[in-house]
């Protein structure tokens, strides 16, 4: 962090920033910049740089490492006007700054209903009660003695894109699509814990409850609980982050994020759903005729182009352009992603790169040669059940304008001739 003065007395970071700024003007600027250097070369090459001369920090300068100081802008952000207080609010993953399919732990969006509970793992307990042969209590130590699994799953808040139901509103995929992350969880299959307690034959539902100040609760059908749910204590190899439910959270793969109860402290087996606040007042889908869908658990097939996007404009002018994005489906894997550069008139199949895992994010690319004209970028995902991501108009036609959750409509970005990108809706 100590910045050593360079021979001209300006901090290095500043001159690098200047260089990037010049870069914005495209190839011509780079040529000019190089021309300005007396020796006929890029001074970053022809002059010896500080980092090449002086020693850097030794090991242990940061016992727990942090991203480079040049990445300080890569952070979660919130939209203050959305909620009354940050204690019950949301922030968003900076999707436009990330690549691949895994979200770094510190960038996973947060949604709490009563703030982040701080719990010493030694004080944490998980209870199983209700329609079981033996109600049980586990410590964290007990849980770590069950056989474990590692699985990559996306977690998407059902409200992701909720602000866009009525029309294009927020300029940035961080805000329009950033209530999602994808993490490798380590945990115990929920099945093992339920079997340990012995689920009675009439035990058809499970209530999961958190230990935080909102005592979050959701009803989950037993079939799902016994299928692929995990009780996780690690994310991307390290302990869960406090804001992600440390020391213990539930994973309900492919289903809406609210069900992934954080700070998980209790699982109750019952013969009916509980109709808790988060499955009645919230997380139900009001349709045009005034009726509402409930138990809309599965997250729909969906995709978004993360680059270019409003927060990540094209700064390099025409020529080779990497169009990149994410696709996912709560139903399984993504079979195909199509990309359109003309607002959905014509489509091309994009290239999916990296692992294709069920209920995990998929990374896609379309490498084009940009002619510098206006683009209307769209992506359309198709999952392994053959479900096709709908357009926003199709969704509104089916559901009306008053829904909030489960907006998986096709997103359009307008790239203008300067490379500036805007969130738009198209005919």
């Amino acid at each position: 962090m100590v910045s050593k003065p360079d021979p001209k007395g300006t901090p290095r970071a500043a001159s690098r920033r200047d260089f990037l700024k010049t870069g914005l003007m495209g190839g011509a600027a780079i040529a000019a910049g190089a021309g300005a250097a007396k020796a006929g070369g890029d001074p970053l090459i022809t002059e010896i740089q500080d980092w090449n001369r002086y020693l850097g920090e030794g090991v242990d300068a940061a016992p727990y490492g942090t991203p480079s100081e040049f990445e300080a802008h890569v952070v979660r952000r919130n939209v203050p006007w959305l909620t009354a207080d940050p204690v019950s609010s949301i922030n968003f993953t900076p999707l436009h700054e990330l690549d691949g399919i895994i979200t770094p732990n510190g960038l996973c969006f947060e949604r709490h209903h009563g703030g982040t509970a701080i719990i010493n793992p030694a004080d944490h307990r998980l209870m199983i009660n209700g329609l079981v042969d033996t109600p049980l209590v586990f410590t964290m130590e007990d849980l770590k003695r069950f056989p474990r699994e590692n699985r990559a799953y996306f977690l998407e808040c059902a409200a992701n894109g909720g602000m866009e139901w009525k029309g294009a509103q927020l300029n940035g995929c961080q805000f329009t699509h950033g209530m999602i992350h994808c993490v490798v969880y380590t945990g115990v299959p929920l099945r093992y814990l339920l079997e340990e307690a012995g689920v009675k034959t009439n035990g058809k539902w499970l209530l999961a409850e958190g230990a935080d100040a909102s005592a979050m609760t959701r009803s989950i059908p037993m079939e799902k609980a016994l299928d692929d749910c995990l009780v996780a204590f690690k994310m991307n190899g390290e302990a869960l982050r406090a804001e992600q439910g440390y020391p213990l959270r539930l994973c309900v793969p492919g289903w809406e994020g609210n069900m992934w109860v954080k700070w998980l402290r209790r699982l109750e087996v019952g013969d009916q759903p509980w109709h808790q606040r988060e499955e009645t007042s919230k997380y139900t889908d009001l349709l045009a005729e005034g009726k509402a869908r409930r138990h809309t658990w599965v997250m729909d097939v969906k995709s978004v182009i993360t680059n270019p996007s409003p927060q990540a404009p094209v700064t390099h002018g025409k020529g080779p352009l990497v169009i990149s994005g994410l696709a996912w489906s709560g139903g399984g894997t993504i079979k195909r992603v199509d990309v359109s550069i003309d607002g959905g008139r014509n489509w091309r199949e994009a290239r999916i790169d990296g692992p294709s895992l069920p209920k995990a994010l998929h990374r896609f690319y379309l490498d084009i040669n940009w002619d510098g004209s206006d683009l209307l970028l769209q992506s359309r995902a198709i999952d392994d059940q053959g479900l096709v991501q709908p357009s926003k108009d199709q969704l509104r036609a089916a559901r009306g304008g008053n829904s909030i959750y489960h907006n998986n409509g096709i997103q359009t970005w307008h790239v203008n001739t300067d490379g500036v990108v805007e969130n738009v809706e198209v005919s």
Binding site: P80, A84, G114, N171, Q276, V424
Partner: protein, 375 residues
Amino acid sequence: MLKFPKSAAIAALALAVCASPALAEGDADAGKKVFNKCKACHTVGDGAKHRVGPHLNDVFGRTAGTAEGYKYSKAMIAAGEGGLVWDDATMAEYLANPKAMIKGTKMAFAGLKEDADVANVSAYLKSFAAEPAEEPAAAEDAAVETEDAEVETAAATTEDTAEPGAAEMTFEASKGAFGLGRVATVEEITAWDIDIRPDGAGLPVGKGTVADGEPIFTDYCAVCHGDFGEGAGRWPVLAGGHDTLTKERPEKTIGSYWPYLSTVFDYVRRTMPFGDARSLSDDDVYALTAYLLYLNDVVEDEDFELSNENFTSIRLPNEENFFDDNRMSEPHYAQGVEPCMSDCKPGPVEITARAQVLDVTPEGEGDENAGGGID
């Protein structure tokens, strides 16, 4: 054991001193009641912690925005750096209308309307000073005694739970395949299993009337939810919204949207008041639920009493309007349709709407635009 003030000795001194004659303008006893309006966000006294707002021990004489370990708004920090110190005058101005005095303060509190309330709550707050006030006092008043009693109770509970320590208790081992974990006791299950179902399963024995609920709501809920459940600022609206579900801006309240009354009881009991969960008695929750029914015109008689006996006889008006997920029947999910790849739209595509029109993307501090929602 006593975290605040630093030692029990100072505590005793401070408590003895708090009935200082300097409080002549305000009555700490009456202020304690006023403080109910602050309690959801602030704590005072022994073991006070930061909640939604900073703890308010020792707040008089303190520079604004400086309680250690609390994350203030930039506005509050700037006010402190600008020299704002909490005294009678500044406190009165802030509490009368927080946002008018400090633009950008994150204290979501409408303000105290009565000067007397301001004076009284100030007197009450002064009673939580670690240092002796300037003028030593002789008398002890009721507020002091109450506080003393609370301190003792708190201490007693700490000892109680510390003594038999979970580790030393003997539990029955699990008989499952792994033999991991141990059998939960009845007391443990009762302590945590507080969920209520629409069929009334889980309801505790108890009762409360609309009239009982009104003062509790005014003291503990109205600061956020408004006197009539209309919602203060952006805090949730709890009443009204009838016949709005098909309108452009539907208002989803207990009366207009919620299908089951059990959800109200369950939710209020497990998590409200926000920031002081589980502080209500079961009878309080019955009374508040009755009052919320009244605010939503589901019951009209102030003497209406809600109890575990008659609970399931009350139905909310919108119950019939929920149905299970049928997204797969929507036309766009029709199976077997190959998506179009070329010339899918008749002519060049036009832009019909732009985000910049509504531009509400956060760029920094102070965006207060309305529109959209996350829940």
